[in-house]
Homo-oligomer: 212 residues x 2
């Protein structure tokens, strides 16, 4: 079960909320980037960034100099992951909507200092964005590790919202001579584009060529 | 030119910043949803939501009861629109990245009360999500309009970041026997899925069937 603190208890569209922990994992484990919200000088700041999950912990990273990460360290953050699945075309403008799956995680971010947890967090981050690459590409050097801040965020306080399926219109609108339905949005991997400087004879690895 | 206030002056990766106003419009006018950041009780809250643009103003909407919109009304907000274009696979883990185009807009949101501007804002929102639908579907009733809050946000303070192209690796890594390149992420519209309750004889309109 997901938590039900005041801010994760859905105010609107309760029927779209899910308290199934597996839905939370599914949304997080199929996303590529999140939107990280922090408060800087009392103002909100929202930046897209990578993330990874290990069990009940989300990992974020960035340059040790990044403003957003400096604000996030020890402060309250909000991490939102959204999958947009389609546009819902209703008979009325008012009932237009989108099909989506989104997760919102609230909490206080913790700067990870333990070397093993730092590496594990970076591995989770890399494997979320590019599965198979952690063991394939050159590992981070000590200097590179020192330049990277890793933050951990517990999944204790999280909510999931999912909308699927057809439009829901006003009863009297169903007889209107208006088309209604869903226009799905499909996201897929294109053909890998090799860097022109890849040495001859190096083939595209299977984990990139056949990424799902 | 985009503004260069302290928070829109890029701290990191300056080479990815753009001060071309047309880039801002392009990112905003090709996105479908934004991530709206507000501060609620001192904590950040980030929610995905629709938006539209008219000139130098971004419009957001939502139920008059939505927490995020209540917090946004008159308060400082941050609106971020992100297009993820691909995963950048470098020779080293450290230089893995993503190709993306993102816009961040900061400002104080204004609750729109003028009826004409409210309608224009809702039209822009609808047409961003579903071009052609404003003139096709049933217009909002007075009651529906009353249930909808429309917020306006000036584009005065905005920044754009764009990363395109191949990975950039450490000089000494280019001789490694490692494949490197870009795995593009392609987003496309699928086949329209008609609602089972659409009356017989109503064809899928051209603006939905052939949406670009």
């Amino acid at each position: 079960m997901l938590s039900t603190t005041p801010r994760t208890t859905l105010g609107r569209s309760k029927e779209r909320g899910s308290t199934d922990r597996n839905n939370l994992y599914e949304v997080l484990d199929t996303g590529l980037i999140c939107h990280l919200g922090v408060v800087v000088n009392g103002h909100p700041m929202v930046v897209p960034t990578g993330y990874g999950r290990i069990g009940e912990t989300l990992y974020l990273h960035g340059s040790t100099g990044a403003r957003s990460l400096r604000a996030a360290d020890g402060g309250e953050v909000c991490v939102t992951v959204t999958h947009l699945d389609g546009v819902v075309l209703a008979r009325s403008i008012f009932h237009h909507s989108v099909n989506y799956r989104s997760a919102i995680v609230y909490g206080r971010a913790r700067l990870v200092t333990d070397p093993d947890e730092r590496l594990a967090g970076l591995r989770a981050l890399t494997e979320r964005l590019a599965p198979g690459q952690w063991d394939y590409a050159r590992p981070p050097s000590r200097k590179e590790l020192a330049a990277t801040a890793v933050l951990a965020l517990s999944l204790d306080e999280a909510s999931v919202k999912i909308r699927r399926g057809a439009p829901v219109d006003e009863e009297e609108d169903y007889t209107l001579p208006v088309w209604a339905g869903v226009l799905p949005l499909v996201t897929a991997w294109g053909e890998p584009q090799p860097d022109s400087l890849v040495p001859e004879g190096i083939e595209t690895p299977v984990h990139i060529l056949h990424r799902e």
